[in-house]
Amino acid sequence: MKKINKTKILSTVYKKWENKLEEHPKYNNSKVRKEIYIDIATNLLNIQGGLCAYTEIFLCNKNIVDDNNWKAGRFKKQNITIKDICKGGGLDHFDASIKKEKAWLWDNFFFVDTDVNNKKSDKEVDSILKPDTKDYDEYKLLEYNIDEHIFIANTGLDIQTQKRVNNMILTLGINQVKNVRKEYLEEKILDIELKYKTWEQTSVFQFLTAFEMCKITMNNEKI
């Protein structure tokens, strides 16, 4: 799970509106949703590079949401649904407990894979793995097991922190896509192992963190 920088605001119309809010409209308010959902979603997809915030599985081509598709603080295409842009994704309230009070809070939003979102549901969260926080550092908090292609807490952390991180890995469904991730990365790694390509020549469009961690692990093994 990559660190996410949410300071890039393309949906300025929404953000101004959100800044001024004293009381948030309900999340299921269809009029509000119609007005701002696409803007929030596409802004996040732009920031997240078209990937799910937690699993880094591919959701949409980043060209669809790049900066050229914005005009005057709004996503140019407005008469569309999220299904027209990406396959199987939606907005997630990282901390579901504040959804009721602050349904449209930018800081609490991430764009994630639908299955992951459904499983996460309203589960309690720990901000230790909130990918946009200042202290979040995937390389300090996480480790990647290349056998099963799963993330675990860095075993160098104290037991209590490891427990918190592992609980959040489960809550965010980071290992829920392990089979897709395994299939995708193993094909890349095989090319490298067979010396058909080098790590540097290999590009990935999803699971970037896992790929980077595989690279570090395997290069260390060589040494």
């Binding site: 075993t155 290992n175 089979n179």
Partner: protein, 579 residues
């Protein structure tokens, strides 16, 4: 034979400018509706070689009925109707039924008539009476045509021993323009031939059972089947004609077909064991055999009949021995006994055959076997097959002692074995029901081997059953999220041709786990507890690799735990070195 009506409607004199408009509309009297909208002007390509008619049709603008359509829908008879109107007054009504050639002549006559009216610019009184005579004459001709039709009916072609090569569902329930190619692809040794076996897979509700029902309704020619109300739904049948050539015929159930289907067809429904109130009538030896309605147990009657015949014959052979044995020398006695044994060897008992060739192969897995020694005095003593365990203890009432899985095998294999259908279409809905995986693994080969010339359809949720099929034999159906309709998920690169080399999925080469994930679309390989445990093992492995232990005892404890858990979750080590 199809029947269509052409309304030459109307020959109008617009009175003031003395111009005529010939309008043609076409409707059908049966349900072969090409179009019913508005007043169409049709150009009938079929008539284009007839000069005068072509002239007459020069007013026509659209082509709606082609030669091919006439042939496709078997429109050999037409009814032509014309209102001849002069200055807004109907002066004649023509209503004539005829063959295409007859209609051609009549149209030509009408054209001449209209030209005559146009040239004379007078109200054609004379024409009216001639027309009346003409109508009477045509009435007589009509009766002759009817007679001819009756004769034609006797020439209806009967199609049997076919296999399905294509299914096209124009619009039925969730299917819209749904098309399935059921032939072997290019590059296959059976290229272009209908598939020997087909496996239907797909999520619940995608329509596997519907497809099965549609096939059944087609073969039964069930025109009342609600599912087939849409007339343009078709199946293509490949059959071998008298010259041993494979012919493809498109069959529409709700249209007049000059063919009749007489196909051997066996249906094994998913719930064949539990459906109550099945008909107690005997199983037919051919035609439609539907175990949705019939009791599979009844196929025992065929075997029973053979057993009785065999026993009679055996009795005769035994009596021969007894008769001769009384006066035979020891040498002769040996010869007689050898002869009898030879006879026994050549003429296996039907129950032994059933056991050896069919059932025991599976029953052994259940610790059972068919009881081959059957002593009986009367027919009623052998009401049903007897089963014993491997310790040769006969079991009681089969329905009570056999498990659902054993009954499932018994009730499906026995009909196939005893009926020995040739060139049939055999359908299995969820054949995996109640069967343990090791039996599922063999069931497709087993059932198909019992009727090698038949075409089999299996609708299944079992990855094990799916693995018994070549990729082109699998029809994966799923919802198209964009259209909300059902589509076939094609397993070959659609930008390239349907060739064996262009298939990218092949269940025969995948593990069961992989079939679940790559073919059945399961995203996870276990439940959430498995992921949790895998993470625990991965953490232990990481700790062991890092080697930061406070004591040797801690290291040993972690190592022990790691070994235990990695076995428990079947942790997949990337390479042996890591293991």
């Amino acid at each position: 034979m199809g029947f269509a009506t052409i309304f030459l409607n109307k020959i109008i004199n617009k009175s003031k400018n003395d111009d005529f408009v010939l309008k043609f509309t076409r409707e059908t009297t049966d349900n072969i509706i090409i179009s019913r909208s508005k007043n169409f002007t049709y150009l009938i390509e079929y008539f284009e070689n007839t000069d005068s008619v072509r002239k007459m049709l020069m007013f026509a603008k659209e082509t709606k009925i082609s030669k091919e359509m006439i042939s496709k829908y078997n429109l050999s008879h037409f009814n032509i109707r014309a209102d001849v109107i002069w200055a807004d007054e109907k002066i004649n009504v023509i209503n004539q039924e005829d063959t295409i050639e007859g209609v051609l002549l009549e149209m030509k006559r009408l054209y001449d008539l209209s030209q005559g009216i146009l040239n004379n610019k007078t109200k054609p009184e004379k024409v009216m009476s001639e027309q009346k005579k003409e109508v009477e004459k045509k009435e007589v001709e009509k009766k002759e045509v009817e007679k001819k039709e009756v004769n034609n009916n006797s020439k209806i072609k009967i199609l049997k021993d076919f296999k399905l090569s294509r299914i096209y569902l124009k619009e039925i329930n969730q299917f819209y323009k749904f098309e399935v190619d059921l032939t072997y692809p290019k590059g296959h040794k059976k290229e272009g031939k209908p598939l020997d076996k087909v496996c239907l897979i797909g999520q619940n509700g995608t329509g596997k059972t519907s497809i099965i029902r549609i096939i059944k309704a087609f073969i039964e020619q069930n025109t009342k089947s609600k599912i087939l109300e849409e007339s343009k739904t078709s199946i293509e049948l490949d059959y071998t004609d008298f010259s041993n050539k494979t012919i493809t015929h498109t069959y529409y159930i709700n249209k007049f077909n000059e063919v009749k289907l007489e196909q051997n067809f066996i249906n094994f429904p998913a719930d064949m064991l539990s459906v109550p109130n099945k008909e107690n009538r005997p199983i037919p030896t051919s035609g439609i055999i539907d175990f949705d309605i019939l009791s599979a147990q009844k196929t025992w009657e065929f075997i029973k009949k053979n057993i009785i015949e065999y026993n009679k014959q055996e009795k005769i052979e035994r009596e021969k021995i007894l008769k001769n044995a009384l006066k035979a020398t020891s040498e002769e006695l040996l010869k007689i006994t050898t002869e009898f044994n030879n006879w026994k060897e050549k003429n296996h008992s039907p129950v032994e055959k059933l056991a050896d060739e069919c059932l025991d192969r599976f029953f052994e897995k259940f610790n059972l076997k068919v009881k081959t020694k059957i002593d009986f005095e009367e027919e009623s003593d052998i009401n049903y097959l007897k089963i014993e365990n491997l310790q040769k203890q006969e079991l009681g009432n089969l329905e009570e002692v056999l498990s659902s899985g054993t009954k499932q095998v018994l009730h499906t294999a026995m009909p196939l074995y005893s009926l020995k259908p040739e060139n049939a279409i055999v359908i299995f809905d969820e054949p995996e029901r109640s069967l343990y995986p090791d039996i599922q693994k063999e069931i497709v080969d087993f059932y198909t081997s019992l009727s090698p010339k038949s075409q089999f359809f299996f609708a299944t949720h079992s990855p094990i059953i799916a693995s018994a099929f070549e990729p082109w034999e699998i029809v994966e159906i799923r919802f198209d999220s964009k259209t909300g309709k059902i589509k076939q998920e094609l397993w070959y690169d659609t930008e390239k041709q349907r060739h064996v080399d262009n298939y990218f999925k092949d269940p025969r080469y995948l593990s069961w786990d992989d079939i679940l994930m790559k073919i059945y679309g399961m995203k996870e390989d276990g439940n959430s507890e498995r992921i949790e445990k895998l993470m625990e093992v991965a953490s232990l492995k990481s700790k062991l690799e890092k080697g930061n232990f406070s004591s040797e005892e801690e290291k040993q404890q972690i190592f022990k735990e790691f070994k235990k858990l990695s076995k428990l979750v079947n942790f997949k080590f990337r390479d042996e070195k890591n293991k």
